[in-house]
């Protein structure tokens, strides 16, 4: 073409004009810490595994999940999911059903028979774990993955600890538990049941262990000083729940009173109902708002006909089982104060659910070990005062949940590994929290949470069938897709699309994006329109 001078131009020639020089601040891609991850006691990369579940790649999702937590099917049932409590989506419509997706993945893994990979290289180090509860199993799992040899000693007849002996079947079916424990053991973990460790140092020495992790749990029910007749049937909750796993089911009678306000109290009351109690009554000294048990469990218990006497303390138990109850009031600070008003409550048995103590006998004579208020003190790296002996789970200061125990396992394993290698484990610095204010929620489709199916009340009152059902695949995927990917790019292409200067380069699936600073004028639209807050603006160094 014989183009006229200056008037007619070759296409695309403006690429010679680098408008990036106009910029006074530049956009940067960032990865922030999603609140779910931040809240998870097991430190699960929830967003990471939801990412794969969203796309329907459940195995990949499961594999990301189990990098942090080897018990997803268990977690998906009994975790109190603080992730959902902190989920940003809760401020938009309702939190993502992370727990139900986790359960779906866990169940799917069992169904498909997915196995854990075992590393080829062995470290040559051998670690003793005492206690096959969540914390011990988790530690074992992580240590094996780090190349160490692991032996678990457990005093009980079956592995699982509180998962088996503290949590009723209707919340955690035992086949699920067994399957997930087996998968860990299949990694080459040696488990010695009915093996009580009396002296940890001796055991370590005789077994040639380089380190030990103690996770014996807290299995001793606390006894309150309640004057009771000699014939009165007073039991402790841990014992009741434990005996549920044996041949002999506990005989609680028709009127069962449970004393306490924690989750264990609820578990026992609901168990009693299922064992045939016509009346299962919880006596608690404060109000529902103050109750430590999770509200959804209280709600489920109430649905099943459990009665709760609020603001009540048990003063005395007669031989016949008649309980003297004193009415309480809350003072200004929320503490219950006696009123001097009394009433009587008939019962066949009283179960005390007032908390548990740790059996510390195995630690006798271990130098350097510090015990305070009946629990073992550990350093931030989970090591006790005695080098090489680590501890976790319910026997160390912490919230006593399965998830926390699992989290301890991961943390302890990393530190044990570091210690065995003569170093110190340094966790990667935490990213900035992806707060809701940093999101542009406009972009998320309106999609309320899917509720999991619940067993009908009649069957819940008479059987130990699992109360809460799981999600089918479609629902689980839907739920996964409700994830807003707070703080981390999920490749929605918004930045790529909204840039008026085409200054965003799309790198292709899974590779995210890059800014082309030759042309980026620094308008900031990409930052404002990033749904998940994964871009920030920083001033140019002028």
């Amino acid at each position: 073409m014989d183009k006229p001078f200056a008037i007619t131009l070759d296409v695309g020639s403006s690429l010679a004009n680098h408008t990036g020089s106009w910029r006074t601040s530049r956009p940067l891609y960032v990865d922030s810490l999603p609140p779910c991850n931040n809240a998870c006691p097991a430190g699960e990369n929830i967003q990471g595994w939801l990412f794969h579940a969203e796309a329907g790649d459940y195995e990949a999702a499961w594999r990301v999940l189990v990098q942090d937590n080897p018990l997803p099917a268990v977690m998906g049932r009994i975790c109190y999911h603080p992730c959902e409590t902190s989920c940003n989506r809760g401020q938009f419509d309702s939190a993502v059903g992370i727990n139900s997706v986790e359960r779906f993945l866990g169940d799917e893994a069992i169904k498909q028979g997915w196995k854990f990979a075992v590393p080829d290289k062995a470290s040559g180090k051998k670690v003793l774990i005492v206690g096959a509860g969540p914390s011990g199993l988790s530690t074992a799992y992580h240590l094996v993955r780090l190349g160490h040899q692991v032996v678990i000693f457990d005093a009980g007849p079956l592995a699982g600890g509180m998962m088996r002996f503290g949590i009723p079947k209707y919340r955690l079916p035992r086949d699920v538990l067994d399957a997930e424990i087996k998968r860990i053991l299949d990694m080459g973990v040696m488990l010695k049941l009915n093996t009580r460790v009396d002296n940890i140092l001796d055991t370590m020495k005789s077994g040639g262990f380089d380190a030990a992790f103690l996770a014996v749990g807290a299995h001793i029910g606390k006894r309150a000083h309640i004057p009771a007749g000699s014939a009165a049937k007073v039991l402790d909750a841990v014992g009741v729940l434990h005996s549920m796993e044996g041949e002999e089911k506990p005989m609680l009678g028709r009127r069962v009173v449970v004393y306490g306000g924690g989750n264990t109290a609820i578990d026992v009351a609901r168990t009693a109902k299922r064992l045939g109690a016509t009346e299962s009554i919880i006596v608690y000294r404060r109000t529902r708002e103050k109750m430590p048990a999770h509200d959804f469990e209280v709600e489920e218990a109430l649905q099943e006909g459990i009665l709760i006497k609020w603001l009540s303390t048990i003063k005395q138990v007669s031989d016949e089982g008649a309980l003297t109850i004193e009415k309480m009031v809350l003072d200004d600070k929320g503490f219950p104060q006696p009123t001097g008003e009394f009433e009587t409550l008939e019962s066949d048995s009283l179960v005390l659910a007032l908390g548990q103590d740790v059996d510390l006998s195995l630690l006798n004579g271990v130098p350097g070990l510090e015990i305070k208020d009946g629990i073992v003190q550990v350093m931030p790296n989970m090591m006790t005062g005695h080098p090489g002996i680590f501890a976790g789970g319910d026997m160390v200061p912490s919230e006593r949940t399965v998830t926390v125990g699992v989290g301890h396992g991961k943390k302890a394993a990393r530190n044990i590994d570091a210690w065995l290698r003569g170093g110190e484990y340094a966790a990667a610095p935490k990213h900035e929290l992806a707060a809701y204010e940093k999101l542009n929620p406009w972009y998320y489709s309106d999609a309320p949470k899917i509720m999991r199916p619940m067993l009908e009340v009649v069957r819940r009152q008479s059987t130990f069938d699992e109360v809460q059902g799981g999600l089918d695949e479609t629902s689980a995927q839907f739920e996964a897709r409700r994830c807003m990917s707070c703080g981390n790019c999920f490749e929605c292409d918004n930045c790529y699309g909204v840039c008026p200067d085409n200054a965003v380069i799309k790198l292709g699936p899974g590779k995210r994006f890059e800014f082309n600073y030759d042309y980026c004028k620094g308008c900031g639209i990409c930052v404002s329109e990033c749904p998940c807050g994964a871009i920030k603006m920083v001033p140019e160094d002028v």
């Binding site: 073409m1 183009k3 006229p4 001078f5 200056a6 008037i7 007619t8 131009l9 070759d10 296409v11």
Partner: protein, 417 residues
């Protein structure tokens, strides 16, 4: 083929034989008969393939032509007077973009006062718009110039305006030799645009050009017109070879060889002037007439060559540069730099006033005696003017002068000329 027909019809036939692909039409007298004729040809299928577009204004007419030409179609439109002024912005744009559109201007006066009759004010207003402007003396030449216009415009990638006197030529029946299609085809090759909007080879046409290159762009536009000064005579010669007649060219001298007095003019008045000159020659006066065909580019050298031996030049023009006098005269004077001869400007034929032989005789007889004023308005009604000026002196009257004067003139409908 010889034919007795209307000038507009002759032009329409010529344009049709040039195989235009897009024709834009908006009615304004006196060009209407041309596009009406073409419209009928397109609608009947006699001119195909061709798009005939009835636009909503002259501005749109030129704009549609711009788009069509830029997309590679041979494009044509016609206008006059107010219509030309209404499209001015697009007229400049067409030449600026170098689009070889051909447009007939059926010359007509510009208002106010509104006037539909002939003069050259419209074309003259566009003398600097960058188009080539060719003026036809008669209908044969009007026909021929259109064929040459397409050839010239496309060769240079410049638009060409063919100017013909409104009514006097457009509405006159006279003998024309209408060429055969084969002749036109052998003279005018198919349109090969210099630049084209085509997805196969995308370009951006119409960039904004700043001070760093604008002068160069304008210079190149000027250079193209200078190139046209060479091409126009070549094309006229080729035209003669194929069509057998003289048409076009830069200038047309008549009896100028030994003339002491030469009248310079454009368009149809040349005919009346030639008759007048013949009569004056018979009476012993050494007079001649120089017709200018190509007003843009203005053939300075050719004009100078003809005028250099004369003693006086009378530029007779149908346009007035208010506040100075002649428009053509100014350009002619450019050609005479350094020559010592008397120059007179005669403004004639404004708004359709007939230019009669009698008036021309009177004027030229005074001119040859150098008694003519330097700026003369032919057949000006001095009494009327004086009365008005007198009135104004007594009482400053605002409002349109034309109305006051019409009151003096009385009913005009009954006047023959």
């Amino acid at each position: 083929m010889l034919k007795q027909c209307e000038g507009s019809h002759a032009v329409a036939s010529a344009v049709a034989m040039c195989r235009p692909e897009v024709i834009c039409a908006y009615p304004i007298s006196p060009q209407t008969h041309i596009v009406e004729g073409l419209g009928e040809m397109v609608k009947s299928g006699n001119l195909a393939p061709c798009e005939f577009i009835n636009v909503e204004s002259e501005f749109a007419a030129m704009s549609v032509a711009i788009g069509a030409s830029a997309a590679g179609a041979r494009s044509y439109t016609a206008t006059a007077s107010q219509g030309l002024l209404f499209m001015v912005e697009a007229v400049y744009n067409a030449s600026g973009l170098g689009l070889p559109i051909v447009m007939t201007v059926a010359n007509r006066a510009i208002g106010a006062p509104i006037n539909i009759w002939n003069d050259h004010s419209d074309s003259m207003s566009q003398r600097d718009c960058g188009w080539i402007q060719l003026f036809a003396e008669n209908n044969q030449e009007a026909l021929d110039l259109h064929i040459q216009a397409f050839r010239l415009g496309e060769e240079l990638s410049l638009p060409v305006m063919v100017c013909m006197d409104g009514f006097i030529l457009t509405h006159a029946y006279e003998r024309v030799d209408i060429p055969a299609q084969e002749q036109v085809d052998s003279y005018l090759p198919a349109f090969v645009p210099r630049q084209i909007l085509d997805p196969a080879e995308p370009v951006s046409i119409g960039a904004m050009v700043g001070p760093e290159a604008f002068t160069e762009v304008r210079y190149l536009a000027h250079a193209k017109q200078m190139q046209a000064l060479e091409l126009i005579p070549q094309h006229a010669a080729e035209f003669k070879q194929i069509f057998g007649r003289d048409s076009g060219g830069l200038v047309r001298p008549y009896r100028c060889e030994d003339a002491e007095t030469i009248v310079v003019a454009l368009g149809s008045v040349l005919g009346t002037l030639k008759d007048t000159i013949d009569e004056m020659r018979d009476a012993g006066h050494k007079v001649g007439v120089l017709g200018i065909v190509s007003f843009r580019p203005f053939p300075l050298l050719a004009v100078r060559e003809v005028l250099k031996n004369a003693r006086r030049v009378v530029v007779l023009e149908k346009s007035l540069a208010v506040g100075i006098g002649g428009i053509v005269a100014t350009d002619v004077r450019m050609a005479l730099s350094g020559l010592h001869l008397h120059g007179y400007t005669v403004i004639a034929g404004l708004g359709g006033r007939a230019i009669t032989k009698a008036s021309l005789h009177k004027m030229l007889e005074r001119a040859v005696k150098d008694e003519l004023e330097h700026l003369t308005f032919l057949d000006l009604d001095h009494n009327l003017i004086n009365r008005h000026l007198e009135r104004e002196k007594q009482k400053r009257r605002s409002g349109p002068m034309a109305e006051n004067m019409l009151r003096d003139v009385g009913v005009v409908a009954a006047r023959i000329a």
